[in-house]
Every structure is written in structure tokens, then in C-alpha cells.
């Protein structure tokens, strides 16, 4: 009989509880990165109250019972502290409840944090779920543990009934019958037939204006949009190349962390950002390329000609270009805005839209609906 991994089920329950703290996550936290990102481990930390079993504790942390800390002078395998409730090394001595005196923190890597922030935003904006799955084996882990846990043991299952239920559930959830049975999962799950997406190479470039005219609220809006875009693009392409560029008078390729936490400052030369985006894309032959450009389009007057030239080049190089205008002021349409608006009328590869809270949803629905069909997958 296959043994049920109760440890994994319990671990999953613990992870679920950890994830319930996601409502505490706000992208603004990233702007205070000194406070939340550990400079040594680069992990993002949140203080929590109930990740560990709640137990009473004294004001003086670490002493536990207020007694002095007894240490061994030449302890070879530890820091020398005599840790009486020792769990390692052999006999397990507890009911798993000895950890409440530890500091209560949840730690996430930047990647984990982004994934949780994405889910939070997707829920917050009530964006649709994708009703197709691009890769095989996308089993919902939570359901696996719940189901095993509910029934207790595999040998008690009515396998025929389970097959039938599982298939019905699959059809109702996925709305497709294109699936294969994974024998490793004991017929409990149906996996979608894998579509060949792994060979598609994609470059995503995110170019953000950080000039002084972009206020913090606006830059937050841009980040929110970028987060939501990633969420969907991740579903299409698992191994995308992502490049982050910001520009004011000059352009610079930056890391994800910098991209998320930079403060707006300086003048605006749109051509600098577009040019760097174009130059980077030259290194990626045979890629599908997406160009996402976020700016108020309030360009320096002597830069328009250069910007026109590079946006034309980018148009040739990239498959799709999304230009999001922030701080929209219809009364003062800039030369560059008019230029790209004209381009978008003549060319289906370029989309231009005004970015605000409600248009994020519209833009993504548009992306998923109409443009999603055009994306090669």
C-alpha cells in the first residue's frame, strides 16, 4: 500500500496558513525595503502573531523561563547553548510545540513575495482566471492533500468511483476533455495534454519612466500593472527572459529589486529608454518580444525626433508594444503621444492606452481576450 505522506499534508497546511498573511502585503512595503528586506539574506520578512502555536512568553525573550542561559564551553556542533528540548539526533521528544518562543517572522524570497503579491492583486482587481492550462501535470496540490486526508487511506477508496468523480471534476473545472491519465497519481488526477510551449523563447522588456514628473502614486500604479502582467505571462511562458529598464535623462538596465523600489527623479528623455530597450533586444535573436513602456510621455522638446526614430526601430524588432500613458491629461497631448497614436492606427502590433486603476483591468482583459489569441503558444 502506498503510504500517505502526512508530513507533507501538515506542511501544506502550514504553508496555507502562512499564505493567509498575504492580506498584509502591499507593494508599498517594497518602497521601504530597508525595513523589510534582510540585507544579508535578501529575504522579505513580516512579523506575525500566530504562525507558531501561541504560548505565553515573558518580556525577556530568549530566556524563556527567566533563568540564566547555561552553555557548554566546547560544544562542537552548536553555539554552545544547552538546548534541553532537543528534537534532533534521535528520540523525538515533543508534540511539535516547542517553538513558540522563537521570533515570529514569515520569510519570503523576493520571488515568493512577488507571486503572493500577484495573487493578492489579481483577487483585488477581480481579474479572470485563465481557463486553459499550458503545461501538463498542473495538479492542484491542496486538493490532493485534502482528499487523501479526508479518506484516510488509499486502500479504502473506491477507485472506479474516484476515476469517474475525478474526470467529471476535471471537465467542469477545466472545460476541456483533452487530458491524459497520470498513472503515478493512482488515477486520482487528470492532466492536460501538454502543449508544446517550452521551445518558445520570449523576451519581455519593462521600461519605466522615473523622471520627476512621475509621482509615487503613479509609480505604484505602474508596478501594480507590471505585477499583473507577469501573472498572466507566467502562465503562457515559464522561462521568459525579463529585462527591466528605467530612465529619466539617462537609461539604465536594473535588477528586479531596483525596479520595484526606485524613487522618481530627474528630467525625461524618452528616446533614452526606448533606445536601451532596442539595444538589449538585439541580443535576443529568434525570440518573441514584448515591449511594455510606462511613461507620462511628457518628453523634453529636443528629444522627440530621436524618440520617433527609436520607436520605429522597436516596432520592427518587437512582436507587440504596449504603451501605457500615466498621468493622462487629454488637454495637453504631447508630440510623442500623437506620433504613437498614429502608429497604432496603422499597425496592429502597437497598443496605446491611458493607465489608471480601472484601466488596468480593462487593459488586461483586452490583452487576455483579443491579443491573447494572437500570442504564439
Amino acid at each position: 500500500m502506498k503510504r500517505i505522506n502526512r508530513g507533507k499534508i501538515a506542511e501544506d497546511a502550514h504553508e496555507k496558513l502562512k499564505r493567509s498573511f498575504k492580506d498584509k502585503i502591499d507593494l508599498d512595503l517594497l518602497l521601504q525595503k530597508e525595513k523589510f528586506i534582510d540585507p544579508e539574506t535578501h529575504k522579505i520578512k513580516f512579523e506575525t502573531d500566530n504562525l507558531y502555536l501561541p504560548r505565553p512568553f515573558l518580556k525577556e525573550e530568549g530566556n524563556g523561563n527567566g533563568s540564566k542561559e547555561l552553555v557548554f564551553g566546547d560544544c562542537a556542533d552548536c553555539d554552545g547553548t544547552l538546548n534541553i528540548p532537543d528534537n534532533g539526533g534521535g528520540l523525538d521528544n515533543s508534540a511539535g510545540a516547542e517553538s513558540s518562543c522563537e521570533v515570529n517572522y514569515v520569510e519570503f524570497s523576493l520571488e515568493e513575495f512577488i507571486k503572493m503579491a500577484q495573487e493578492f492583486l489579481i483577487e483585488d482587481l477581480k481579474l479572470p482566471e485563465l481557463n486553459f492550462v499550458m503545461t501538463g501535470g498542473n495538479v492542484k496540490e491542496d486538493r490532493e492533500y485534502d482528499d487523501f486526508s479526508r479518506f484516510g487511506a488509499l486502500d479504502e477508496l473506491d477507485i472506479d468511483q474516484t476515476f469517474e468523480d475525478s474526470l467529471v471534476r476535471h471537465l467542469s473545472e477545466k472545460r476541456t476533455g483533452a487530458c491524459i491519465l497520470d498513472p503515478k497519481k493512482d488515477g486520482w488526477y487528470w492532466n492536460e495534454i501538454e502543449k508544446k510551449v517550452s521551445d518558445v523563447m520570449v523576451l519581455e522588456e519593462y521600461v519605466m519612466d522615473i523622471s520627476g514628473s512621475i509621482n509615487p502614486e503613479t509609480s505604484k500604479l505602474i508596478r501594480k500593472t507590471v505585477f499583473c502582467l507577469w501573472y498572466y505571462l507566467d502562465k503562457f511562458y515559464q522561462k521568459n527572459e525579463r529585462k527591466y529598464i528605467f530612465f529619466n535623462d539617462n537609461a539604465k538596465e536594473v535588477t528586479l529589486e531596483e525596479f520595484l523600489s526606485v524613487e522618481p527623479v530627474g528630467g525625461t528623455r524618452l528616446s533614452e529608454g526606448i533606445k536601451l530597450g532596442y539595444e538589449i533586444s538585439q541580443e535576443y535573436r529568434d525570440y518573441n518580444k514584448f515591449f511594455f513602456f510606462f511613461s507620462d510621455l511628457d518628453n523634453s522638446t529636443n528629444d522627440d525626433e530621436a524618440a520617433y526614430e527609436y520607436i520605429e526601430r522597436v516596432l520592427e524588432e518587437f512582436d507587440y508594444i504596449y504603451i501605457a500613458r500615466v498621468n493622462p491629461n487629454k488637454k495637453n497631448l504631447t508630440g510623442f503621444y500623437k506620433y504613437v497614436e498614429k502608429l497604432s492606427r496603422d499597425n496592429a502590433k502597437i497598443y496605446i492606452f491611458d493607465l489608471n486603476e480601472s484601466s488596468i483591468k480593462e487593459m488586461l482583459l483586452y490583452f487576455l481576450g483579443q491579443n491573447g489569441q494572437k500570442i504564439k503558444y
Binding site: R3, N5, R6, G7, K8, A10, E11, D12, A13, H14, E15, K16, L17, D49, L51, Y52, L53, P54, R55, P56, F57, L58, E60, G64, N65, G66, S67, K68, E69, L70, V71, F72, G73, D74, A76, D77, C78, G80, L82, N83, I84, P85, D86, N87, G88, G89, G90, L91, D92, N93, S94, A95, A97, E98, S99, S100, N104, S149, F151, G152
Partner: protein, 397 residues
């Protein structure tokens, strides 16, 4: 189990029983994956109810976040179940087989373990199945109630207390007043009580137990190993946790002074407090360089009395402030009166969110007013707080 290893087990068992006089129930050795050992280590038993807190432990063990590699696990049962890791080297397996025999002997003979169920492995497995079924019926309520029970039990159950003191013990008081609870709540109360009482002596006699297992292992292998194997053993021995070393050195000193027979006697009757109070000496403290760190970071070798008193307090409190129930007021009023006496340097702030979270768990089990009284060293009258279930905070009365 490997055939060659089975032969080794028989040989080691013969040395343990015939030459050293150990006496234990049959041991069923299982060679299992490190992942499965992690699972047992985090749950305490092979099949036990599922709770997220065990998941945290499991992750720690399974992802290498624990203090050290787990070589083996042994369960107090008849037959005793021992689990050896498949990742162990051949010699490591021999160490742990001998070590397990020491534990099995301690379980069978030590007074603290004698009154315990010898069938907890099966009992816990049955309980786990019932909890699974209850989850289907009651959903998240089960996990919430288990969290509250584990939270209160882990900070209250301590069999070092005298029987009459149990009346004032927070967990036992709540258990005694669980009559009006729903059926599933009573079942969970019974289950947690039984399982915690099973685990409590393991904590209560950890130094004596681990020390004995290590001492027995040392003596069994001394009779058995060739010089090359002994060299391996010596290297491994030096890396044992400090609890093992402390216990080992105490038994070793008893052996040197009073012989093997006395060691057998001591392993029968001692828990950790009796063990260190009776047999820990200044020589051992000096040899193991036990002491307290000064503010400057320098270690000062401790006086034997200080070491003993520190160990005794650790054992009595499990590193957690102990709350006591004021039974007289509670019975009179129908509310739950809990008090805590602060000793110097042991102040507790009930308004702190972490303590409030604990009171929330007590409320989940009690479902009526909770009054918490705290006594400070210099004041005659205590300070009273009331738990407000609406806002989930403590209010000063």
C-alpha cells in the same frame, strides 16, 4: 532489512542482553527514507493526527533546516519500533542499533515510562483516522480546536506536578470542565491529554534517557568493534548533542565509582531532576566546561549548585511561564480565574499580542469570561485583566 544487518542486530543484542544485562521488549527495526524519519520526528509518531504545527517541524527536518541529520528514531512501544535512515553508512547503522537498544531498555525499565501505554503507536493511528473523519464533518473547526488544545497543552501539561496540583493546572482544569462541550471536542480533549501524557516523560527524563542510550551504545560497541570501526565511532561520538554528552558523563562517573550494577539501578528510577541532583558533580561541570556567559562574552565555569538549579527550573517550566487556575474563585463565579506570579526578571505583559493570542486559545476552549491576575514581586495585590472576545484583546480591570 538487510540480511547482513540482521545478523549484526542479533550479535549486538546478545552482547546487550547477556554481557551487559539490558532488558528490553523485542525491537522491530525498519530501514526507511530520511523523509519518513522526518515525518515521524515532526509528528512524534508514525501515524498521528495532522496539524499545521507538525508541518512546520516537518519542513524544518525535511529541508535540512534542523540542527543535525537524524540517524534514527525509536518509539516506546511493545514491540519497540526503531527506524534507521537509508542514508546512514553501514557503521552509522551499527551505532544507532546499539543506541536504540539502550533506549528500549530505558523505556522498559525506567519508572517514568512503566505506567505509559505500550500501544500508543496504534492508538494514535486510530485517533488520526477519527480526526480525519471529524474534519469531513466539521471542517475548519477541528483545526482551530486542535490549535487551541495544542497551544494550552504544550504550555501546561507537566507530569512533574504532584497529582493534587493538577487541579490548578490550566489544561487539566479545562479538561475537567469540558462536560458541556460537543462530542467531537471531548474526543479531541481526550486525545490530546493522552498523547501529551505519553510524550511528557520523554522530556522529563531526556538527559537520563539519552545519556543511558549513549552509554549503553558505547559499552555494547566497545565489545564488538574493531579498531577501524572504533575510530569511526569516536568521530561520530564527538559530534553528539550536549544533552547526550552530559548524560553519558554522569553514567560514566557512576560506573567508575560504583560499577555497572549501580548504573542499571540509576536508569530504573531517575528522571532528569533526580539524575542531576544526585549524580552531577563539579568534576563533570568542569570537564564539559558548563557555565554562563558573561556580558563580555567570556564563559565562566559555573558552580555545581547553579547548574543544577538552572536545569531544574528548565525542567519544571519547559521554558514557558506557568499559569495557574484559581479554582476557588473560578468555581464560585463560573468565570475562569488564572493567575501568574512574576519572579524577579520574569515579567509578563498580558497586553502583548503574543500573549493575547494565547488567551484567545484559552477562550476557544473555555467559552466564558477569563480573568487573568498577575502578581508582581513587590506588590501585595495583583493586577487584573479581562479577555475581551469581541475585540480579541486583554482589558485592564
Amino acid at each position: 532489512m538487510d540480511k547482513k544487518l540482521n545478523i549484526e542486530i542479533c550479535k549486538l543484542e546478545r552482547i546487550a542482553k547477556e554481557q551487559l544485562g539490558l532488558d528490553f521488549y523485542p525491537i522491530q527495526f525498519n530501514l526507511v527514507s530520511p523523509g519518513y524519519i522526518s515525518q515521524i520526528a515532526s509528528f512524534g509518531l508514525p501515524e498521528r493526527f495532522i496539524h499545521w504545527d507538525f508541518g512546520r517541524e516537518y519542513k524544518k527536518f525535511n529541508r535540512g533546516g534542523g540542527d543535525m541529520k537524524i540517524l534514527e528514531l525509536v518509539l516506546n512501544n511493545n514491540p519497540a519500533y526503531a527506524y534507521l535512515s537509508k542514508d546512514n553508512t553501514y557503521n552509522e547503522n551499527l551505532f544507532v542499533i546499539a543506541h536504540v537498544m539502550g533506549h528500549a531498555d530505558f523505556f522498559k525499565n525506567n519508572g517514568n515510562f512503566k505506567k505509559l501505554s505500550q500501544n500508543m503507536v496504534d492508538k494514535a493511528a486510530v485517533n488520526a483516522k477519527i480526526v480525519d473523519m471529524l474534519r469531513v464533518e466539521y471542517g475548519e473547526k477541528i483545526d482551530e480546536y486542535l490549535t487551541s488544545l495544542l497551544s494550552v497543552a504544550s504550555s501546561s501539561i507537566n507530569s512533574l506536578q504532584y497529582e493534587y496540583k493538577k487541579k490548578e493546572n490550566l489544561f487539566y482544569y479545562l479538561y475537567g470542565h469540558a462536560g458541556k462541550n460537543e462530542c467531537y471536542q471531548k474526543f479531541l480533549f481526550d486525545m490530546i491529554k493522552e498523547e501529551f501524557e505519553y510524550f511528557d516523560p520523554i522530556y522529563r527524563a531526556q538527559i537520563a534517557n539519552e545519556g543511558w542510550a549513549t552509554f549503553a551504545e558505547f559499552n555494547i560497541l566497545k565489545e564488538y568493534f574493531n579498531p577501524q570501526q572504533w575510530w569511526d565511532f569516536a568521530r561520530n561520538f564527538g559530534l553528539r548533542p550536549e544533552v547526550y554528552k552530559l548524560g553519558f558523563e554522569i553514567y560514566n562517573s557512576i560506573y567508575k565509582e560504583n560499577g555497572w550494577g549501580k548504573c542499571l539501578d540509576v536508569r530504573m528510577c531517575c528522571d532528569d531532576i533526580a539524575f542531576v541532583q544526585s549524580y552531577l558533580s563539579q568534576n563533570i561541570v568542569n570537564m564539559l566546561k558548563m557555565g554562563f556567559k558573561k556580558d563580555s562574552g567570556k564563559l565562566e565555569i559555573a558552580n555545581i549548585d547553579d547548574v543544577i538549579s538552572t536545569l531544574v527550573v528548565q525542567k519544571q517550566t519547559k521554558g514557558c511561564p506557568i499559569f495557574t487556575v484559581d479554582t476557588e474563585n473560578s468555581e464560585k463565579s463560573g468565570s475562569l480565574y488564572i493567575f501568574y506570579e512574576c519572579k524577579p526578571g520574569e515579567e509578563l505583559d498580558p497586553l502583548n499580542p503574543r500573549n493575547t493570542a494565547f488567551f484567545k486559545q484559552i477562550y476557544n476552549l473555555w467559552r466564558n469570561d477569563i480573568i487573568f491576575e498577575i502578581y508582581y514581586p513587590d506588590s501585595i495585590k495583583g493586577k487584573e485583566y479581562l479577555y475581551d472576545p469581541e475585540d480579541k484583546i486583554m482589558r485592564i480591570l
